[in-house]
Symmetry: C2
Subunit: 339 residues, 2 copies
Amino acid sequence: MIRVAVDAMGGDNAPGEIVKGAVDAVSRRKDIQVLLVGQEDAVGQELSKYQYPKEQIRVVPASEVIETEEPPVNAIRRKKDSSIVVAMNLVKKGEADAFVSAGNSGAVMVGGQLIVGRLKGVERPPFGALIPTEKGVSLLLDSGANVDARPSHLVQFARMGSIYMEHVIGISRPRVGIVNIGAEEEKGNALVKETFPLLKECKDINFTGSIEAREIPHGGADVIVCEAFTGNVILKLYEGTGATLISMVKKGMMSTLRSKIGALLVKPALKETLKAFDASQYGGAPLLGLKGLVVKTHGSAKATEVSNSIIQCVTFKEQQINDKIKECLEAEEQVTENK
Amino acid sequence: MIRVAVDAMGGDNAPGEIVKGAVDAVSRRKDIQVLLVGQEDAVGQELSKYQYPKEQIRVVPASEVIETEEPPVNAIRRKKDSSIVVAMNLVKKGEADAFVSAGNSGAVMVGGQLIVGRLKGVERPPFGALIPTEKGVSLLLDSGANVDARPSHLVQFARMGSIYMEHVIGISRPRVGIVNIGAEEEKGNALVKETFPLLKECKDINFTGSIEAREIPHGGADVIVCEAFTGNVILKLYEGTGATLISMVKKGMMSTLRSKIGALLVKPALKETLKAFDASQYGGAPLLGLKGLVVKTHGSAKATEVSNSIIQCVTFKEQQINDKIKECLEAEEQVTENK
């Protein structure tokens, strides 16, 4: 049984869609228990709308809510009874295996570091976002946790990301690319130029060199490494461009009588093809390198994404990703010490 | 008459598509003379395929070619008889008003600075790329000229970009946004946090604050300011995601008999809608802040884009953008001196 604490109060659609997602997750999987953390009345009221196996969902009271735009460090320090802080403490005390939140990203990141804590050797835990590509899915990291990273951080991102893609997603020897503005080693900004040779030396990853942003949608690398400012820009632009184009296609199809008839005919096939490009089916972005599993889903997440994010925790836990990250970083430390 | 020097040897489709684009431009506009710079035989052979007003196209011989992946500084210094160097010298000597190239971006940037030269007061000339949005078109700069910029450079980008959007594209009081990973002033990396207050103080631009990448396709700002690494990532990802999604839509429509019939019906309407999202109709990216006009088009540019890039030079020249940039920066210098 995997116990997943879920932030019932976080995100644009809380608590309604969050509770719905939790119910959906336990209906799909017998091996998950959800701890819904939040204001008892509000959560209870939503829960009462559904039929579900009672032993698989438990409400854990938390009276406060951290708002989306609150400065994270203050919020985590002051709101001790917020859903995020209460849930993180459950993970810390071993009463939950994982935590899923659609709330304030900064607070999730800060809470993850201050409450759950970093694994030994991890310098900066990155958000690893799964993004859809023509060929399946790639892991983009850091997709927004720590801006202005140093080369050694990026090397850790590459190694943690490789472990994630190999064991959670099941891609053997995942190709690691560093985001760059040209294919050659001498291209790039100071950070990329310094990081590139370090990644080349890394024996435990399959580094394939630079990846230009235009290759990302084609699935040019399985693990896409970059600094968090760039990563967040990529993630948001990816989602924004996708959503805009799909809405333009729909609008185009509805613009004439002729095209409306055509739209009815193409709809099923098109829906199937574009499903591959729907980020919500891949769940949330784990904060890699913590002592417990912390997953951030979109602020706009609806029930399906929440449910997928909860289920995603099972593989992460079963594959003992944290133990693997720890081993990998300790092995590296050993090598460095022996040098 | 505007005289535009065109790099007949630059880009993936040179000289064929470049020459075709030049012929197209002079067929559409009587007020343009194109100087096709490149290897006489190759260019002449392509030209002989078309009918066109002879007085509007002249071939200027240049025996060398700078390849796409050549290190730019060396290439500009050594290949004195390359199409890029010869054409840039035409601009420098006043024998051409503008230069359009689909060739090596780095060489165009270096040549622009070393041969054509910067306007007085300009610290770093940025590439300003026009990108399609739901609402029309936005100017993204720096889209790839100088990585690791400083705050003062970004402020100049904002001011030069505003002049361009107001006078070339015709948007009055263009909204200027700085690319950021959150809407609030305190968000961002060190560069953005330093630049934000400087932009707020800028009296001659309409600064509207941060723009998150997901707002770019919605047309969230007219002038989008960022450092060149980020800008190039945005530009390439924007194009890559657009191309991938459109190809997936096409594939989806061709997947069943039913959808194929539907595709025939929706095609005209869809084509019309998606035309707005086709970058090639907007021409190339000018290198702003030089003593002459230098425009870089995509390496993959075909005749239509080349032709549009040539025609784009007319408005730039007619509106005396360089004079306006010079005045604007000199006014600022005056203010600084008086402080």
